[in-house]
């Protein structure tokens, strides 16, 4: 028990973004996050989810022999094959915002982009492991790169390679990217958005509603830094917008309370509207352990099937 718990603790540490961020290899990061997550699954309330296969069915001639579950045969003396989730044909689109604001970090070293990439790579790893198709669309104020969803071996590498190349810059236009993607994809799928949503709130929400209208499932991972939420500053500062370079001088101590109220209001609006339109919304801080995001994904996947 002790050993097992220790092992669980060791693997849970890879859910800590600070720990994971120390790993430079994105694939490794992804793997460790997932395995840490899976190890934690034994204690998680989401027991019963399987990430390896969806269900058993009786063997039919022509089924690949490799899919026969020999354990079941040993128990029941009958041939059953594992039906993998690939057979559910879940197509997931990871939308990742790498505008300049995503490069913000409050000094911990984990930028929002870094967090997003780690999470995106972990999710990709998880999904591909479950035989789901995963695509990637990166954007700033326009779509920068699009990788269509695939589930073949080696696709993870493609995604990770692209994620590795990302460097924050330019301004944001979330709604535009969402609208473009919405127009592009026909098959129903799962849209996973990683962004700080520092954009026209109405336009973003409108785009998200558009996806819903087209029967897509949407998960919005709203990424913010701790300092963007807590505003821990207490001196007079010249705040420089990372995207527009606009400068605003303010006494942080004087404006802190009101800032927090405003941002909370802003977040609450996102939450409310997303809830209203059945968009899965998760507010993630760059210090939030990755399992929260992963769990959300799994919940959503389960609802889909």
């Amino acid at each position: 028990m002790y050993v097992q718990n220790e092992r669980i603790q060791d693997e849970r540490k890879f859910l800590d973004p600070l720990v994971v961020s120390k790993l430079s290899n994105l694939e490794l990061r992804a793997r460790l996050v997932v395995e840490g997550f899976i190890a934690g699954m034994h204690k998680s309330p989401y027991k019963g989810f399987s990430v390896e296969f969806a269900e058993h069915r009786q063997y039919m001639p022509g089924d690949p022999i490799k899919n026969i579950d020999w354990k079941v045969y040993a128990r029941r003396d009958r041939f059953y094959v594992k039906e993998f989730e690939e057979e559910t044909n879940l197509r997931a689109y990871i939308l990742l915002d790498f505008s300049a604001s995503m490069g913000y970090s409050s000094g911990t070293g984990v930028t929002k982009l870094h967090y997003a990439c780690s999470l995106a790579s972990a999710l990709s790893y998880l999904m591909l492991r479950q035989q789901d198709s995963v695509g990637l669309l990166t954007f700033t104020n326009q779509i920068k790169h699009y990788i269509p969803p695939r589930s073949v071996k080696g696709h993870l590498k493609v995604i990770l390679t692209e994620l590795n190349k990302l460097s924050p810059g330019e301004t944001t236009n979330v709604s535009k990217s969402l609208e473009l993607l919405a127009a592009r994809i026909r098959r129903r799928g799962l849209i996973i958005l990683f962004s700080d949503l520092m954009d026209d709130q109405t336009a973003v929400l409108s785009a998200l509603k558009h996806f819903r209208h087209r029967k897509h499932e949407v998960i919005v991972f709203h990424l913010l830094d701790e300092s963007e939420l807590g505003f821990p500053f207490d001196e007079e500062l010249t705040f420089v917008d990372m995207e527009t370079h606009e400068e605003v001088v303010a006494d942080a101590k004087q404006i802190g309370a009101r800032y927090k109220r405003n941002i909370e209001k802003w977040i609450a609006e996102y939450k409310r509207q997303c809830h209203e339109h059945l968009v899965e919304y998760a507010l993630l801080c760059t210090s939030t352990p990755y399992d929260v995001a992963l769990t959300r994904y799994l919940e959503k996947r389960a609802r889909l099937h």
């Binding site: 604001s101 995503m102 913000y104 929002k112 700080d196 520092m198 830094d225 963007e228 500053f233 001196e235 007079e236 500062l237 010249t238 705040f239 420089v240 917008d241 990372m242 995207e243 527009t244 606009e246 400068e247 605003v248 001088v249 303010a250 006494d251 101590k253 004087q254 404006i255 309370a257 009101r258 800032y259 405003n262 941002i263 802003w266």
Partner: protein, 751 residues
């Protein structure tokens, strides 16, 4: 209309500190650190509103801080409101100038005006409250001074101790009639100080007291500053006073000599007295003047003359109002006496008793044996080489007549005088160098070497011995002087000097030198009443011998060329010209007699007919031979020994007495021997009691109040309104500080 005063205006310099909060704010404002942030959308609007609010708050803070500093500075400057509508009793500094000059001694209904003035001064002080302060300044004894600031103990004007004041315990020397703390607090103490001031016998100018009083008031920090002058405002004392320029001082004049007083004033005074020598020499004539300052004629006024307190004569004078009467009395000279005789001239006492007596110190004529040593009886000169005789020198005109005349002996003894004594006090005896002997020298105190060419070794030794035993020597040069011999032998033995050569050409009369005073205060030159560098007499000197004084000698008079004329060494004088009419016309000038007499009197004693006269408050200064330092003393009229300061000046001694205040005769002694006597009489100016009119007073003291003696009781009930405002400003300052604290702490942003 109330007037705003600042009692401590110097503090207003502190207003320089008012902009400090603004400067601190401007210079310490740091540029805000830049911070890259994901978006400024949530900050922008919030910041705009907050920035405005913060700016208002900062402006308010700075304003409050500057106001706190300003109100504190103003409070320290002690603002005060004065005026008829102001309630509250204003603090007061009152200084009284009390006239204690001699003229205040005149009597009014049997009481001296000075004591009336003292009563009025006391009344003024008794009208003050316990929180007020003041000072008392007597006119006689006050000196101008500079007020000192408090701190280190002394805050007041440094003046000398006033005349006529017996300083009580606690009154510091050198601070005048106030304690070391400047103005004195408390009416009782101030009133008590009045009795410390005595009536002076002197005449004192009022300017010093006025300047002191204004200086005292200038350092006062009270609302009301008052100056009272209680005086007879005698014209001679006050007419030249400079009008005070100080603002904010209320001046009240209390003249004590009103028109009614003037009408009843009867005053006779002795104006001056002198003694004139007469022939026969045994008698002297005393002449004096009696002045009548009263409004009515004085007839048959008895004037008593006393000698050493014994009446020797009584005269009767009729003196018209406003005029003088001259009287005289012959005095018999007591020959052989060694001390001065005090002659007193007395009038009957009237309203002003101080000027009813006059004193003279009649000096006994001292007979001094003077030995005049010359080569031979004066005769026509023959010329030759080796000494100052020049070839071709001729004697002409009156000068031929003058040849052979013993001018020195004639100058020392009047022609009608007997051999044993005369009024001039000298018994001259002329001999030739060959007749010089110890016996001759033993009989005299003074030797004049006149135009001696050479002395034998024995003669020179005799003179050197004479000099070293205390004998005195006057060396007069002339045409017979052998310069080389003098430099080699005579001068080294008798006088520290060196002869260089003759100035002037024989027979040359067109150019000349004049005799100039070098040490004008020297007793030899004092009677000539000249200043340093001024011509002693009109005598013209055509020839002289250039001499250089060596160590231990000094030049008393010089010629207009700068060459020494009279040199002094210990026990000897050197005159570098001659008493020969060929060399100069000194012997024919009026300066010869007094110059020769004074030289001999200085060397050998002797003196004038009458001792020097002084006024009360004067200081006696005398130059005496240095050897008298240990034994010299000065005794006053009542027998009291006066204190003397003594300063050694080479071969002589300078003595200076304390101020001579008592009227009468003073005697100077060296041991038991009386050297000289002096008299102190009241300054005649004090007898002229005529005061300044009210109009004249108001011209000097613009805006002053004049309170008559009969209304002086009103001075105690003077109202002195005023209200200090510093507590109000201090409270305001505290209020600003509290407000600053509250505003500085208000960091909660408004919605």
């Amino acid at each position: 209309m109330p007037i705003l005063l600042l009692l401590n205006p110097t503090f207003l310099f502190g207003l320089i500190a008012v902009p400090i909060p603004l400067l601190i704010h401007l210079f310490t404002r740091r540029k805000a650190r830049k911070l890259a942030f994901s978006t400024v959308d949530f900050i922008r609007d919030v910041a705009k509103r907050e920035t405005k609010r913060i700016r208002v708050r900062n402006i308010l803070l700075m304003t409050i801080r500057m106001a706190a500093i300003a109100t504190f500075v103003v409070a320290m400057a002690r603002p005060a409101l004065v005026g008829p509508l102001i309630r509250g009793k204003g603090s007061t500094s009152a200084v009284v100038i009390l006239d204690n000059s001699a003229s205040m001694g005149w009597l009014k209904d049997g009481k001296s005006v000075f004591s009336i003035a003292g009563d009025i001064s006391r009344q003024i002080f008794e009208g003050l409250s316990n929180s007020d302060d003041g000072g008392l300044i007597p006119i006689c004894g006050a000196r101008e001074g500079v007020p000192e600031r408090e701190g280190g103990g002394s805050r007041g004007i440094t003046t000398s101790a006033p005349e006529g004041v017996s300083a009580p315990e606690g009154v510091q020397e050198g601070t005048g009639l106030v304690t070391g703390r400047g103005l004195v607090a408390g009416p009782a103490r101030l009133a008590g100080m009045v009795q410390l001031v005595d009536l002076s016998n002197g005449s004192c100018p009022a300017q010093g007291a006025l300047s002191s009083a204004l200086a005292f008031l200038s350092i006062s920090r009270n609302i009301n500053k008052e100056l009272y002058i209680v005086s007879d405002f005698q014209r001679s004392q006050w007419e030249n006073v400079e009008p005070p320029k100080q603002k904010g001082v209320k001046i009240t004049l209390v003249p004590l000599l009103g028109s009614s007083s003037r009408a009843s004033l009867e005053n006779l005074s002795i104006e001056k007295a002198e003694v004139v020598p007469e022939v026969p020499a045994q008698e002297q004539l005393l002449e004096f003047e009696v002045a009548n300052y009263g409004r009515s004629e004085a007839k048959g006024v008895p004037v008593r003359l006393l000698s050493e307190g014994k009446e020797i004569a009584q005269k009767y004078a009729d003196i018209g109002s406003g005029s003088n009467s001259r009287l005289s009395q012959r005095l018999t000279v007591r020959s052989g006496g060694r001390t001065a005789t005090e002659i007193s001239i007395l009038l009957p006492h009237d309203s002003f008793p101080l000027d009813d007596s006059y004193f003279l110190a009649l000096e006994p004529p001292k007979q001094i044996g003077v030995l005049i040593v010359g080569d031979e009886r004066p005769q026509a000169k023959t010329l030759g080489g080796g000494n100052v005789r020049a070839a071709g020198e001729s004697v002409s005109g009156a000068r031929d007549n003058a040849a052979g005349v013993d001018f020195v002996s004639l100058a020392l003894r009047p022609s009608a005088a007997g051999a044993t004594g005369n009024l001039w006090g000298f018994i001259p005896h002329r001999i030739s160098t060959s007749e010089l002997s110890e016996g001759e020298l033993r009989r005299v105190r003074c030797v004049i070497l006149e135009n001696v060419s050479r002395l034998s070794g024995l003669e020179l030794d005799l003179l050197a011995e004479f000099k070293s035993s205390g004998g005195k020597l006057l060396i007069v040069l002339g045409d017979r002087v052998d310069i080389r011999y003098y430099n080699q032998k005579l001068l080294p033995a008798l006088f520290p000097a060196r002869l260089v050569g003759v100035e002037g050409t024989p027979g040359e009369r067109t150019s000349f030198f004049s005799l100039i005073a070098t040490i004008a205060s020297h007793p030899i030159l004092r009677s000539f009443d000249v200043s340093r560098g001024q011509q002693v007499s009109g005598a013209r000197f055509h020839r002289l011998i250039r001499a250089e004084g060596l160590r231990d000698s000094r030049v008393i008079a010089e010629f207009s060329s700068g060459l020494p004329a009279i040199l002094e060494a210990k026990g000897a004088l050197l005159f570098t010209s001659s008493f020969d009419p060929q060399w100069n016309d000194l012997v024919a000038s009026g300066a010869f007699l007094p110059l020769l007499h004074e030289m001999l009197r200085y060397l050998c004693g002797g003196g004038p007919l009458v001792g020097r006269e002084f006024h009360p408050g004067d200081v006696l200064e005398e130059e005496l031979p240095a050897e008298q330092e240990a034994s010299v003393s000065l005794v006053g009229p009542s027998g009291k020994e006066m204190s003397l300061s003594k300063t050694r000046l080479g071969t002589s001694l300078l003595i200076k007495s304390e101020p001579l205040n008592e009227l009468g005769t003073y005697r100077l002694f060296a041991g038991e021997e009386e050297l000289s006597a002096y008299s102190v009489n009241m300054d005649p100016a004090e007898s002229r009691l005529e005061p300044l009119s009210a109009r004249e007073l108001l011209k000097i003291f613009r805006g002053a109040n004049i309170v008559s003696e009969s209304s002086s009781g009103d001075l105690t009930g003077v109202t002195r309104p005023g209200q200090e405002l510093w507590p109000f400003f201090l409270v305001l300052c505290i209020g600003f500080l509290v407000a600053e604290l509250l505003v500085a702490r208000s960091i909660v942003p408004t919605d």
